[in-house]
Assembly symmetry: C3
Homo-oligomer: 289 residues x 3
């Protein structure tokens, strides 16, 4: 793999790319996209009017949930990341502009599709770096704790999604019948696979350098998410292969047979989130204003 890259003269680029600082440009994009998704959540605009403190806390969970969860998983203070005052202030400014900017100007700018696509791509750069950092951090604490590495990388990549039940509870919403583990969205699944890959790399079972893996995984994530955002799609490029693997290993019904399965169990309540398309959520957010 590294040889191929050497031929393409990409090794140095990968090295430089993996050393590039994330603050403030990439982090800013991460905060904007994250808080944009918070604004799409039904009821979040009303909460921002009635209780700014709850709204700010939710925004912080959306921006820093991955750090909070990873710190909890490794037994550190969940507030550890909040010592970076500049990051918190930047995220707070984004929160204020998205929720309270006069005429909703800022929201309209960043939710404008071409702008949003760029921001989404930048966000995936941060996500990949977080997964790699999470795995590395866990490796530092537990040299042979491969399962711990996967879990910490996973929570670093998934962030607030893994605690969505409790984030919703903060806004007075409670939907116990579903959660991100039961119904994994594409970013959560990709974070899991990414965490496994980075753990294999850290354990030297994957014949590729970390910077190369970061570059490839970033390209994959950014492309996938940009395409999915442009198409307002919630499908996943893994569906086909996952369907077959799960069928063979766990006896899950095949994706093709899904309809029959649904006919047999028509009252499955675990679809609410996925059935809400991005567009529908946006319309709701607009109506709520």
């Amino acid at each position: 793999m590294d040889n191929v890259l050497a031929v393409l003269n990409l090794g140095d680029f990968a090295q430089a790319f993996s050393k590039m600082g994330m603050f403030p440009v990439f982090d800013l994009a991460y905060y904007i996209v994250s808080i944009l998704y918070l604004k799409y959540e039904p009821g979040s605009v009303e909460v921002s009017r009635r209780s700014p403190v709850a709204s700010w806390l939710c925004a912080m969970l959306y921006c820093f949930g991955s750090y909070i969860l990873a710190d909890i998983m490794l037994g550190h203070s969940p507030l550890d990341y909040f010592q970076h005052n500049s990051h918190i202030l930047l995220a707070s400014a984004v929160w204020y502009l998205i929720f309270y900017c006069p005429l909703n100007l800022f929201y309209k700018c960043v939710a404008f599709l071409p702008v949003k696509l760029v921001l989404v791509a930048l966000k995936e750069v941060v996500r990949t770096r977080k997964i790699a950092a999470g795995v590395h951090h866990a490796h530092h604490a537990y040299h042979h704790g491969f399962i711990i590495m996967v879990i910490v990388g996973y929570v670093k990549g998934s962030g607030v999604a893994l605690m969505s039940n409790f984030e919703q509870l903060l806004r007075g919403v409670w939907r116990p019948e579903t959660n991100e583990i039961l119904n994994m969205s594409f970013p959560t699944k990709a974070s899991l696979y990414g965490a496994i890959l980075f753990t294999l790399q850290e354990a030297h079972w994957l014949p590729v350098s970390k910077s190369t893996l970061i570059l490839i995984f970033t390209l994959f994530m950014a492309t996938s998410k940009v395409v999915m955002t442009a198409r307002h799609s919630h499908g996943s490029p893994f569906t086909l292969i996952e369907s077959w693997v799960c069928h063979l290993l766990f006896g899950s019904p095949l994706a093709g047979a899904e309809e029959d399965h649904h006919a047999a169990a028509p009252t499955s309540p675990l679809k609410t989130k996925e059935e809400l398309s991005d567009g529908a959520r946006k319309r709701k957010a607009k109506k709520a204003e």
Copy 2:
């Protein structure tokens, strides 16, 4: 500020007041008032009959919730405070007397208004000291983590209120539609403002000594809570200024316009706790016996 106090010869008094030990008199008042509020909660008397362990755990959360939360926030053991056996035994004795004393004698004594007013005032002395200690403790761990200082001071002041959803869950009650962040009560709000003040003082942005701030904030809290308890009121002295600030900064509807807002959204489910006045809750607690 300190000059004014020097003229009034209050500096030494503030110094002595801020050094005064809290155990056992003030802590005892804190435990009594806290467990009294637990007994006011609907269903808590029934739980104390059916499951003394659950009732004792709730009582411990009411008495030591602030320490538990602050320890969690700073990454320490949540049981850390439970090494102080004498404090736990004192709180357990208060719990036993309030819930199981023959003829309900102890409860009747401490719930007698004049006694209760003294206890409430003493409780606020402890609360202020906790906020100051929390901010100081966080400052020790994170020298420039101003946001961490505010959060730790806030949870030290608010205590069990911030985890009321989970405390209720322990008693088999689940009210996800509201929580203390969405509908802040007066002590929670005051704790937040107090934590901000003490953080400003710790960062030397407030030209006042810590002992003076403790004295002034204690006086404010004790007066407010005593007046509110005497009047069975749940209003807050901050309402007017908050209403204007929130209107300007966050576009919240003004307090005067609240009625129109409610007419527009008459099915708001987020009022349950505030609509239950102190008196109503007390009557319920009596009926349950």
Copy 3:
């Protein structure tokens, strides 16, 4: 006590028994019985088909919940135990065999009553050792924290039961009206009493050596659980004495008067778990396949 054992020549046996390694035989039995109980839970088979990750996580909570909770209680990383890769792999293999083995062969073997009784007995050996280790561990961290010792021993013995609400939430089930503290099952109660005994022993208030206490408590637990499992019973040998103690200390209604109490409050919702007998749950698990 130790003299009696010396006469019976049991001291050496107790010593050897308390030194015996738990991995892999006893731990294997623990994992099998724990995941068997997970499979009895209504809906868990369906979850294993739809979301293997959620099912695996639940299985890990069933097997290692006691370590996770104890680590949280002592302020360590909740993932600390996951550094033991061989334990995790063994538990994962058991999970896979119980849920996905062709023809359900493995499940049928281990759920066959004589086999299950042996496994249940072995599981109680592990439980007792966990309680003793938990108390010892807490004693190491807090020399005079007797309450901490009891709590840590208790969570080490009870394990996933104490977080059953959140384990169920992972599977999309939410039953807030009951929890393990409100309605303690026999193992949870026995763990509490065991934790108190081991704490008294650690504090030298109980004139018995630790190895002897481990032997006696193991015999008591194994016998009780085997008898209860054989009889499909959920009663507890403590009922009579508990009923009197609770009546005297906490004014709880006597067990004999329970029927009157239920007649007075016929809509008590807090019985769901206990009313589901072992057999009934097993039938449901079978139907779900």
